[in-house]
């Protein structure tokens, strides 16, 4: 069974989807990711979909689910790298991804997650060099 790897980066989880997703794989990613959020008390989830050519209603719903479930577990979700053609298609499809934060690329997504960290947090620095102000 294929699996989408989930990387830990400081208080954040990083997922880069590099393969064509079929439904079962997307569902597995959803549950793996949510369990991981819980296990490491992640504060943020970054999902890079720059290599994804197709986001249909199912995949869109999974992204929304991940965002909502993580929020309940006190983690923010940012989806980054969406291809312009995918964005056009999603809106026309009627799925504007309400409640899912997006950023143009991984760097900006990381900065956004950093900026959403509570100020009291004294977590170790992440490897990311673009700390948001």
């Amino acid at each position: 069974m294929e699996k989408i790897p989930i990387l830990k980066m400081g208080p954040f989880l990083l997922v880069t989807i590099q393969v064509d997703l079929y439904d079962r794989l997307a569902l597995n990613l959803e549950s793996d990711l949510i369990q991981m959020v819980n296990k490491i008390s992640a504060k943020g989830v970054l999902i890079d979909i720059s290599a994804v050519n197709i986001v249909d209603s199912f995949m869109g719903r999974i992204l929304g689910n991940i965002a909502n479930m993580s929020r309940i577990l006190d983690a923010q979700t940012v989806v980054v790298g969406m291809q312009p053609a995918v964005a056009i298609t999603l809106v026309e499809l009627g799925l504007p991804l309400h409640g899912v934060r997006t950023a143009l690329n991984v760097e900006k997504g990381m900065a956004l997650l950093q900026s959403m960290l509570p100020v009291t947090s004294t977590e170790e620095n992440t490897e990311d060099d673009s700390i948001a102000v």
């Binding site: 079929y22 439904d23 079962r24 050519n53 209603s57 199912f58 053609a85 026309e92 499809l93």
Partner: protein, 125 residues
């Protein structure tokens, strides 16, 4: 192309993309076509346990397009108008598949007979 399980969807999408690239379809239209196809394939798998898809290149005047015909022998759809409504679903989905696919395609026709099966045709120019 026969579709019987979820994993068949990925090669099917790739096949559609190959054909779309061959007729020099633009990237946005390719994405729309494949997304619409993906919705329809999912319906076919979920409600009819799979079926067959015909991929054809069609031309009208100087423009080329792709026609996809999805045929299944599933339970059929009793009320097509209701099924085409945004947000209506007999499963537990968002109910965007059929209406979304119609918006993404340039031409959309659907025939269904309860107990016999459903056939959906989409064309993207």
């Amino acid at each position: 192309m026969a579709i019987a399980k979820e994993q068949d969807v990925v090669p099917f999408r790739n096949r559609v993309r190959e054909v779309a690239v061959k007729i020099k379809m633009g990237l946005v239209n390719q994405t729309k076509l494949i997304t619409a196809a993906s919705e329809l394939v999912r319906n076919m798998l979920r409600y009819a346990n799979g079926g067959k898809i015909l991929i054809e290149v069609v031309s009208k005047g100087r423009s080329n397009g792709i026609r996809l015909t999805f045929m299944d022998n599933g339970p059929g759809i009793a009320d097509i108008n209701l099924a085409m409504k945004d947000g209506y679903s007999t499963g537990k989905s968002l109910g965007l598949g059929l209406p979304g696919a119609r918006r993404l395609a340039d031409e959309f026709t659907m025939q269904s007979e309860v107990g016999k099966g459903t056939s959906v045709t989409i064309i993207k120019w």
